[in-house]
Symmetry: C2
Subunit: 261 residues, 2 copies
């Protein structure tokens, strides 16, 4: 068996995904040759934080594994530009981009999709991040699996189409959830109340669905068909937010046809 | 100073709020005289679990404090029916019901609103639950405060109108968030993928806004104006869910006018 830790890695990208992935790869015991990109300021920050070289030149990459942690639209053009040997494994990290997009330019390639929300201001424990992996060949998949296991305890081998479903579901439970937090904060702040008061509720709402299925966890006036309370809430809101409140209350009532509270 | 723990309490109601509140009141060192209601089966369960008597008769309640942990619409009619002495303190636990609803029938009254999502299948650590309190008199407020401090470390003295804002915001961050979890679970389950894969993302999305403001925590294709990915997601969804996805993506773009990712 190969000593996978002798494998060298370069990461293309300097956004939130690259920013979180690079220290995890280093902690996993791998050597990073370069962080690569166009945004020199972002590259310099990552370079400094992780004590690794950076470059803006795609043509000097001789690493065993090259990870494209870049925006979805950039994956095909960058993959096309990469002049690599057949032994170099090319990966992307995107939820919604098929492996086929790499396959048109490289035979030896795969996907390592970290299913998590990353912001530069917040450090995530990578060991808990579900990693969705896919590879063109058994050898590719085995290398990706070893890399993934160095990063996280949570590995899923899934296809490109399954990954797209996962990414779509992730938008609902994370991006759309965060916009609900944003609306809650806005309502409070307009009334001079500290957002902190909502934090235990936010945490419990999330922790609840670790043990209960979301269909068992639903509560609130829409579920109870408590139209009087819903009217009081609507009176508090501007007309745009009223429409949103009504639409989401109807969604709850559609998904929960009978009162289960 | 009175020994508040000698105060006796009766709780009217056998729903999720009463179910969670009663053991917390007992743990706080108070004696519960009765759990009171109409649903004998639910009363018997609470009675058995907490080793307290139950009754369906509102006219036998001589406790120092009577807590109405009942649906919003039931508060006024039950408060009217209660034949109490002026020394008995009457409280309700509702987020959206003004203290005035009790005041029309009782001078000595108040509110103890636990800002949390309660389901019978899930035990909540009451010590972390924010309790919003309000009272008609200084004496009422002092008794409510002592009771609240026995239950939780998180007490907020707020007015009825502030409480309504808090309750409205709570619907967004909890009820509307849980329906997002429900939609995420549905998308995965329609594609044969286990909901477990989303759990680390759900937890991190919540934990993130404990340290970052939700406006700093937003990520995803709508924020990035990544219309290609959004189209791929829309293609996965039925027409009703497509409308929801578009509406919430527009909401994100309204709330975050420029690309901040």
């Amino acid at each position: 068996m190969d000593n996978f830790k002798n494998i060298s890695v370069s990461v293309i990208g300097s956004g939130n995904v690259a920013y979180s992935l690079i220290p995890a790869v280093i902690n996993g015991g791998y050597t990073i040759d370069y962080v690569v990109g166009r945004n020199v300021e972002a590259l310099q920050l990552i370079s400094k934080l992780n004590k690794i070289p950076y470059t803006t030149d795609l043509n000097i990459l001789t690493s065993d594994v090259i990870i494209l942690a870049i925006s979805d639209d950039a994956i095909a053009p960058i993959a096309q530009k990469l002049k690599t040997s057949p032994e170099q494994l090319i990966l992307h990290t995107a939820g919604s981009v098929s492996l086929d997009v790499l396959k048109q330019y490289h035979n030896y390639c795969g996907v390592l999709y970290p299913l998590q929300t990353f912001s530069k201001k917040r450090i995530v424990d990578y060991k808990t991040v579900p990693l969705c992996i896919e590879g063109t060949t058994d050898k590719a998949l085995e290398t990706i699996k070893q890399l993934a296991l160095s990063l996280s305890e949570n590995i899923y081998k899934i296809s490109s189409s399954e990954r797209l479903s996962v990414h779509t579901a992730a938008v609902f439970v994370s991006n759309f959830t965060n916009i609900m937090y944003t609306m809650g904060a806005k309502i409070l702040e307009e009334n001079g109340i500290d957002f902190n008061i909502l934090k235990p509720l936010i945490l419990e709402t999330a922790q609840k669905v670790i043990t209960l299925h979301p269909t068992e966890a639903q509560t609130g006036p829409a579920l109870r068909r408590d139209t009087k309370t819903m009217k009081l809430h609507l009176n508090q809101l501007d007309s745009k937010t009223q429409s949103l409140y009504s639409l989401l209350s109807n969604l709850i009532q559609d998904q929960f046809p009978r009162n289960q509270s």
